[in-house]
Structure formats: structure tokens, C-alpha cells
């Protein structure tokens, strides 16, 4: 076990790790940030999506020790005192979830997608969000929610 500094949502957290601790387990079990979800834990469902240096990645398929110098953003880091992040607000307004288990991964993936800076029609959103599985099948409303924010920021 070693003490390891991780920069999460703008502040440095010292967490106890072994080399095989994934970033996902470090966030959930060691930093107490359970907003990031463990679905398949094998890189197939997208529930564990976080931003690493602003880019969306799967926290279940990377080791925490590989990210000492990196900035990790989780769902807990999106809202501020002014209120919800526009994508969080859009997911509420468009009823873009049922059970909610995939939602933090969907939103983090969508934040990463918008930062990638391409024109987003509905077909492109579906293609570029295909790494996030929703077992409730809320896809139409997820696409609507992302499209509404993409239009405003275009």
C-alpha cells in the first residue's frame, strides 16, 4: 500500500493504493466519490466514464498510478455554486434517464464529446455516444438532451 496524490475535480487527494488499483476503484473506494459507476468493469458499458485532462476515458481500464500528474474530472466536479452543468440540467429537462445507473457516465461522455468540437447532428451524437450503454433504453431522450446543449453552444 502506498500514499498517492490524485488531482480530482481541482483539488489534490492523497489516497492509499496498490499498483493494481484501477482509477475507478481509487475514485469510489479510496476517494469516496461514488458518482462514477462500476457497471461491467471491463470497458464495455461506459458507466465509469470520467475526464482525464479534459478527454473522456474509461476509469475501469486504467490504473490510478498512471495518473499522478493528470487532472481527473468526475460527475461530482461538474456542478458549481451557480447550479447544475448545462448537460446535467438538460438531462433533467429531457427526462434522459430512468434508473440512473448509466447517467453519470452518459453525462461525462457527453461533456467530453462537446469538447471534441465537431458538428453534432442526431446521427453523429448516436455514433459518438455508442460507448455508453443504457439498459433502460433512454437513448432518444439522451440524444435530445445532448443536442439541446450542442445547439446552444454552436
Amino acid at each position: 500500500m502506498m500514499r498517492f496524490p490524485l488531482r480530482i475535480n481541482g483539488s489534490v487527494r492523497e489516497v492509499d493504493l496498490v499498483p493494481e488499483t484501477t482509477l475507478l476503484d481509487a475514485l469510489r473506494e479510496h476517494a469516496g466519490l461514488t458518482g462514477t459507476k462500476k457497471g461491467c468493469d471491463r470497458g464495455q458499458c461506459g458507466a465509469c466514464t470520467v475526464l482525464i485532462n479534459g478527454r473522456r476515458m474509461l476509469s475501469c481500464l486504467t490504473l490510478a498510478v498512471m495518473h499522478g500528474g493528470d487532472e481527473v474530472t468526475t460527475i461530482e466536479g461538474l456542478a458549481d455554486e451557480a447550479g447544475l452543468h448545462p448537460l446535467q440540467q438538460a438531462f433533467v429537462e429531457h427526462d434522459a434517464f430512468q434508473c440512473g445507473f448509466c447517467t453519470s457516465g452518459q453525462i461525462m461522455s457527453a461533456v467530453g464529446l462537446l469538447a471534441e468540437g465537431r458538428t453534432l447532428d442526431a446521427a453523429t451524437i448516436r455514433e459518438r455516444m455508442s460507448g455508453n450503454i443504457c439498459r433502460c433504453g433512454a437513448y432518444p431522450n439522451i440524444v435530445d438532451a445532448i443536442a439541446s446543449v450542442a445547439e446552444r453552444s454552436a
Partner: protein
Amino acid sequence: MQPFTYRSVDTVAGARAALLEHPDAQMIAGGTTLLDLMKAGVERPGFVIDINRLPLTTIDATSDRIRIGALARNSDVADDATIAREFPVLAQALAAGASGQLRNMATVGGNLLQRTRCPYFRDNVSRCNKRAPGSGCDASDGVNRMHAVLGTSEACIATHPSDMTVALAALDAAIVVMREGGEVRLTLDEFYCLPEATPERETILQRGDVIVAVEIATSAAHRRSLYLKLRDRASYEFALVSVGAALDFGDDATISHARLALGGVATVPWRAHEAERVLDGAAASPELFRRAADAALAGAETTPQNAFKVELAKRAIVRVLSTLAESPS
């Protein structure tokens, strides 16, 4: 995951030294294959060498070629304007692979070395000559609809899952490997080993070798290139059949350069040399493209479940070649 020792290295020489010092070491870059298989128990390195700090991330163009660093992320290559202009087949193949998150993680070098998706290899229970040499192959009389029809052997019918490598084969890419004495350049045909009796040996890499880059020459044929991927789902799925091709024409409108590669149907990224010989010097026509497709699949060996791939691949080849022949140069 079984415990391991972790070390991060800053130089290619440091990575080579660590690999040679620790016989049970594996390198980690994007981690999307390695950690998945470590969780499955299929990969069990005692030592993991993090190479993400090596200076191998850039895409550099010279007068006649482009060198892509082995640690360039799949998304960085797919979204690069020069790559999209000079090698459409490569940008298209990368964009068709995996998901947005995985493309942000996975590297060019790791993509070259990704392991098969054969479920009997990955379940860590079934008989598998690739995972446990000599144990047998449960795929050969199991559920094998996704499996290979070209380059197979008694020992193994697992497909190579990569899209990117199909494009690289169609572009005559060189894989640049650092080994003792300096860089060596290998074609994909030289780099990958057919399974034959030793499916556990997938490439000619030696202990201590580090892939540092991929190099591709720029040319008119490479600008006239295309990737087509056919799969069970519209996105985020491995290929049933994929085709990468590059084509150019001489002054007399006959084909002066033809490269054809197949994915999803073979045990290695598959260059269809026989089809290229049919195309070379001939005048483009639907009949010619069908003859080339027949030649590409002439050696196919099928099971009742995957026999459909032969006709599917032929039609995909005809469609890609027809599209390229009709596209303006």
C-alpha cells in the same frame, strides 16, 4: 487482478532494459487490452512497465511520408487533418473502431498488438491453443460465427480484431521497431505470424523490442483509399467483414496500383495479394472487381456458421473497388 510491480519509464532504452531485466514484464500504454485481459486472468504479468511518458506521441510529415508515433492515441490519428487527407482509409478505419472513450485511450502501438476477441481465448476456461498451447481449440466445433475463414490452421481460427491494421496493410505501412542495434522496419506481412501450429506466437517481436512508430508513404493511390466495415450493430462492434483498399490509375485508365486488405475474416490483417494481381494493369469493370473478389476468397475454409462471410466479403470488396474507381482522383 493478480498483484504486480509497477514502474514508469521515460526513455525507449529504459523500457527495453526493463523488459530484458524482467522476463514476466509487459508494457502498458492505453491499457484497454492489457487490463481487460488481466482482469480475466488471461494475462498475468508480474511486472508492468508504463510507457506513457515516452516521447512517441507525435504525427510528423516529411516530403514523402508520414511517421505516426506509437503512443499517438487512436482518436488523435483519426482526427488529424493530414491523415484524413493523405490516408482516408486509415482515418475511416480508426473512427469505425471501438468507442469515443476507448479511442482516446488506445494507442497505435497497442492497436497493432491487440489480442483476439475469440470468447474461448478470453474466458480463461475453454481449451485454447493460443492461451494454453497444446490444449486444443473449443472454437473449431463451438460457436464460431465470428471466426476466421482465411489464414486458419488446425490449431486456431481466431480473427485478428483490429480495423486500423487493415488500413495499414492497404497502405503498405512500415512498423518501426527499436531493437538492439537500432530501428528496423517491417511490413505487416512480415510483422504478423500465421497461427499454423503455434497460435500463441502472434508477431515476430523479440524480447526487448519496442514498437516506436508506423510510417506510411504519401501517394495518389493512398489519397484514393477507402474503408468499409460491416457488423451486427451500427456502432461499437467488431467487424464481420471489413475491406481496406487503395487504387490508382495510369494514363491509359488501367489500374496502376491496387492494394486490398481484409479484416474480420482472417487470423492476421489480411493482404489479398491474389486479388491485387488480378487488378494490376487491368481496366476497371464490375466483372474485374468480382474476379478479384473471387481470387481474394479462393482459399477460404469455412464452418457452417461462418460460411456466410465468404459471399459477404466478396460483395464488400466489389463495393469498395467500385466506389474507388468512380471517385475523382
